[in-house]
């Protein structure tokens, strides 16, 4: 019998072992929750008309388990867009949360909060990071740049920003701050990328509007101008 570990809300599902049927036929592969061991238990109960309590589903709540680290806030010095802030931040807070909710810099977006989309991309030094998946306390030694820090102090747009405008790259614009930050980081490291290099560098930034082609055109145009 398969052993399942304790329920971990961050690991929603994993492919279960391929079930086999009597007679050797293979069932349609389906994913199963880690914490459920008897696939047909519930179905059987429902079909026999017996009402059961919802407790069988208790472990599959849609909200994450209650946080057990209601840890005390600790003072941290954080440098964002050249300004140093002294703020109280609990050890389990993410950088995305800190910059959006404590510093009021809402340009950085949260698209997934789980490291999948890149909307929350900021620079730590010259390196792009997903701020939703970085603890604030981990970056207290590093200069952080958000999309608000990309334009010049006089408000002059960065060539990447201007080129994105010229190419009508943003559509809904929700992924755009992340696209801008990643593109700026790319051109810092590689001022004359090929389109393939640009594509690879940008691949951690999803765009549901599908504006990839226009962002790439923008980057190539900006590279000519930098």
């Amino acid at each position: 019998m398969t052993k399942y570990g304790p329920y971990d809300p961050t690991l929603d599902y994993a492919p279960g072992p391929a079930p086999t049927r009597k007679g050797g036929g293979v069932e349609t592969p389906s994913w199963k929750p880690l914490h459920m061991s008897r696939r047909n238990f519930l179905r059987g109960v429902v079909c026999s008309g017996v009402v059961i309590g919802g407790s069988a589903y208790l472990f599959s709540t849609t909200t994450p388990a209650r946080s057990d680290t209601r840890a005390v806030e600790r003072l941290v010095r954080l440098t964002v867009n050249g300004r140093t802030h002294s703020i109280e931040v609990p050890p389990n807070e993410t950088l995305a949360h800190t910059i959006r909710y404590r510093l009021g810099l809402t340009g950085t977006k949260i698209g997934c909060n789980q490291g999948e989309c890149g909307a929350c991309t900021v620079l730590a030094g010259d390196t792009t990071i997903y701020s939703c998946s970085t603890l604030t306390h981990r970056v207290r030694e590093v200069d952080i740049t958000t999309v608000e820090g990309i334009a010049g102090p006089d408000g002059a747009l960065h060539p990447v920003q201007q080129a994105f405008i010229d190419e009508i790259a943003p559509q809904c614009g929700f992924c755009t701050p992340g696209q801008v930050v990643t593109a700026v980081a790319l051109l810092k490291k590689n001022p004359k990328p090929t389109i393939e290099e640009a594509r690879l560098a940008m691949s951690g930034n999803l765009c549901r509007c599908g504006a990839y082609d226009h962002y790439l055109r923008g980057i190539m145009k900006a590279a000519e101008r930098v």
């Binding site: 519930l42 919802g54 997934c112 226009h214």
Partner: protein
């Protein structure tokens, strides 16, 4: 005619804020003392709440209040969607909401709530619900949909037995219509193709989840919401909150993607307002997580279907017999099924057709419109069948499509009653695309193998209705001479709120930099406009802006005549002046005329309004009355017939038969969208629509575990929208650019078919690389390609849903 603004590129006024991070979306709302709202989502696909125990939740530090189902308005219909419900009909459905001082405290409190629920029978596969003893998604109801009474409908065991495992059972349909003699059509056909197929459901996954914020002040409720539409969303949201529209201040300046899933308002948008009311109006923010967005953010409807198509020797479609079973989700959903039938008619112009549909409720996320709802699934399901017919007839696949596609402008037929269309140039789009793509020469490479890669070519076509009428236009010229165009269209990301406003500037002869757009919230005094959905904006709101501008033009002339003598007809508009025809020295600037309008009052400055405009427009025009010359009118222009948006696309792929990977090498799409307003904006839509279509064709799908009714593709990496690495290096486009007959400047919409043309072209291209193998299942995923390439059976039954 040479235009000053139409057909020219421009920089939309909101785009700079998007690249600097200054653009504020609903979740960017901040206020002192703002509370955070979280909701408890149902842990089961169908269950009744017996008891809610808040005792532990209330002890969580920072807990403020809870909102329960009996405190909110419940839908009148059993197939409606509740804001909070004590009978959950899908996994993740909001049952209660909690507000707390911080988001973490709210989440902790939600986790501490004890909800005692009783599991009820549930179903995730529509065909299972139609079985003689199959479960119903709702108590005693399993079939519903627009124009269909909700009911329990079961097919007989005989229906299922006769069909066998590979064919859709053709049981009693909930809806049926037809025209022409299909029996005669099939009798005369040289080739008949008959297939059953499945189209998966898939998530919208807008990058911005549907977060919302609200507060109450001075007797009014203020809501920041994420929606594609501004004016059109307002009455519905007020209704959900339980107030009159005049009591709602609604802000939706930016929307981080909708694709139909945020077409107007939706229940979750009302939640922070209702919680805020319990807290005496304290500002409340509901940040919706990616997971919650997946569970509650609607989805494209899936289908199980069957089609029989008959063609003559030239490839002309003589008869079509189509039956679809729609996965409606857990509410009355969206009538995608209707659109399958109507798009088959407009795209193929069959001589006879019978269409049957049965929309079935399932305990899955409520289905909403998703870009080309029904039309794009139709393209993916039916275009491969055209290829099969062409192969059997031994004619070119392009030739078969040309034999059926509507062209030449008017004359094509729409709908079961074979009504007129306002313009259709699909044939021209196919011809133009084939030439640009060099179809004839290139498609000869079809099937050529290079290492493990096989070349394939595909053509896709798609349709959506593209325009409506009867809405209002509102603009004003202020005494500084500036033109303010008030537009209630939302800001979905197509920039059409701006491009359609340029029509007013064009009519009045304005320089674009002297035009200010008033949009993004009810405080900007918006006219009653249709929402930004259904590819309608270009047609509908160029008309409203046109009639408002014509009204302003007439008033300018009347003011000039009253001031300078003569009749209004003696005057014309030139360079922001109203001047006497033939003697330009007699005239006045728009600025002067605006000042005169204020002095004259009455209808000139908005103190008297047309009787036929909507109450929302009346309120907005009254609010700005006396501030300038007001142009305001209802669109009463003639509109006879359906406005079709059409697109044709061409794709070149390499299919790796050892890995199943598909490389899209080249893409070209031609849009039939009437006169082009904004070329760069159109280019962005053509390419973006294609990227979305590639996902629809090959990777995006919902997967519900049939055992537990739990969704298993909740994250982006599981739902698989396309990335930078999936797009072709070439994405060409063009437009037929022939004017529509029923729009004063020839415009019509296009957004949706751009996706369906791309997805169906990609599916037919993959099929072509595999020698014409029909998958009859969308998306065509890597495993399916590998199985087909190696001649293995697929791992799923032909009509199974929720396959991976």
């Amino acid at each position: 005619m040479a235009y000053k603004l139409i057909g020219k590129n421009f920089t939309p006024p909101d785009i700079e804020a998007k690249v600097t991070g200054a653009a504020t979306y609903a979740e960017d709302f901040r206020a002192d003392g703002m509370a955070h709202v979280k909701f408890y989502g149902s842990p089961m696909p169908h269950g009744r709440v017996n008891n809610i125990d808040l005792s532990e939740a209330e002890k969580v530090p920072g807990f403020l209040t809870a909102l329960l189902p009996d405190e909110v308005k419940q839908p009148e219909s059993p197939v409606g969607q509740a804001i909070l419900s004590d009978e959950a009909v899908y996994f993740g459905q909001p049952i209660l909401a909690i507000a707390a001082e911080t988001e973490q405290a709210a989440a902790d409190a939600v986790a501490a709530v004890r909800v005692d629920m009783e599991l009820l029978p549930f179903v995730t596969n529509p065909l299972e619900s139609l079985q003689p003893d199959g479960p119903n998604a709702l108590n005693g109801i399993n079939v519903a949909g627009q124009g269909i009474d909700f009911q329990e409908l079961k097919w007989s065991g005989r229906d299922f037995a006769l069909a066998g495992e590979e064919t859709l059972p053709l049981g009693t349909p909930a809806l049926e219509w037809s025209f022409g003699d299909i029996e005669a059509g099939f009798a005369n056909a040289a080739v008949i193709v008959e297939e059953s197929f499945v189209h998966a459901s898939n998530a919208h996954h807008a990058m911005e989840p549907r977060s919302a914020a609200a507060y109450w002040e001075g007797g009014k409720c203020h809501v920041w919401g994420s929606t594609q539409s501004t004016a059109f969303a307002q009455p519905g949201l007020a209704n959900l909150i339980g107030i009159s529209p005049s009591e709602l201040v609604f802000v939706s300046e930016f929307c981080g993607g909708g694709f139909g899933g945020k077409a107007t308002t939706y229940p979750l948008m009302a939640l922070p307002a209702l919680v805020s009311r319990k807290l005496n109006g304290r500002p409340c923010l509901l940040r919706v997580s990616r997971n919650e967005e997946y569970n509650n953010g609607y989805a494209r409807a899936g289908f199980q279907g069957w089609a029989k198509l008959g063609f003559n020797n030239e490839g002309r479609m003589l008869a079509a017999d189509i039956y679809v079973v729609q996965d409606l989700g857990s509410t009355s959903g969206f009538p995608d099924f209707n659109n399958v039938g109507s798009s088959a008619i407009i795209v193929f112009q069959p001589e006879a057709i019978r269409f049957r549909a049965t929309p079935v409720l399932t305990n899955t996320v409520p289905k909403g419109a998703q870009r080309g709802p029904g039309e794009n699934q139709a393209a993916n399901m039916l275009e491969p069948l055209l290829d099969k017919a062409a192969r059997e007839l031994g004619i070119d696949r392009l030739a078969l499509r040309l034999a059926n596609a509507p062209g030449g402008g008017v004359g094509a037929k729409y709908g079961p009653d074979q009504g007129p269309v306002t313009s259709a140039y699909l044939r021209e789009a196919l011809e133009k695309g084939a030439e640009a793509f060099n179809w004839e020469e290139r498609s000869k490479q079809s099937g050529v193998r290079n290492g493990s890669k096989v070349r394939g070519y595909g053509i896709g076509q798609a349709y959506h209705t593209a325009g409506s009428n009867g809405f209002d236009g509102l603009l004003r010229i202020t005494p500084d001479g500036i033109l303010h165009v008030h537009t209630g269209v939302g800001n979905l990301g197509t920039f059409s709120y701006a491009s359609t406003s340029r029509i007013a500037a064009e009519v009045l002869g304005y320089d674009w930099d002297r035009v200010v757009l008033e949009y993004g919230g009810t405080t900007r005094h918006l006219p009653w406009n249709l929402g930004q959905f259904g590819s309608n904006t270009n047609f509908t709101m160029t008309r409203t802006n046109y009639v408002a501008a014509m009204d302003a033009a007439q008033k300018l002339k009347e003011i000039a005549a009253a001031t300078l003598g003569g009749n209004a007809e003696d005057y014309e508009l030139k360079e922001e002046r109203v001047v006497k025809t033939g003697d330009e020295s007699v005239g006045m600037s728009f600025a002067e005329a605006a000042q005169k309008a204020i002095e004259t009052g009455g209808r000139y400055d908005g103190h008297e309004l047309p009787e036929d405009i909507n109450p929302m427009t009346v309120a907005s025009a009254s609010a700005i009355a006396g501030t300038g010359l007001i142009g305001v009118a209802k669109d009463n222009l003639p509109k006879e017939g359906t406005v079709p948006a059409l697109a044709a696309a061409f794709v070149e792929v390499d299919v790796d038969v050892e890995t199943g990977k598909v490389d899209i090498l080249d893409y070209h799409c031609v849009a039939d969208c009437g006169t082009v307003i904004h070329p760069m904006g159109l280019a962005a839509q053509v390419r973006g629509g294609a990227v979305m279509g590639f996902g629809l064709a090959t990777s995006e799908r919902h997967v519900y575990d049939p055992q537990y009714g739990r969704p298993n593709a909740q994250s982006l990496y599981q739902a698989k929208p396309k990335t930078y690495l999936d797009i072709p290096t070439q994405m060409g486009w063009s437009a037929v650019d022939l004017p529509d007959s029923q729009n004063p400047l020839g415009m019509k919409g296009i957004g949706e078919p751009l996706e369906g043309a791309a997805s169906s072209a990609l599916i037919t291209a993959i099929s072509d690389a595999l020698g014409g193998h029909l998958f009859n299942r969308t998306p065509v995923v890597t495993d399916m390609i590998l199985n087909a390439a190696e001649g293995r059976p697929q791992s799923h039954k032909p009509l199974a849903t929720n396959t991976v």
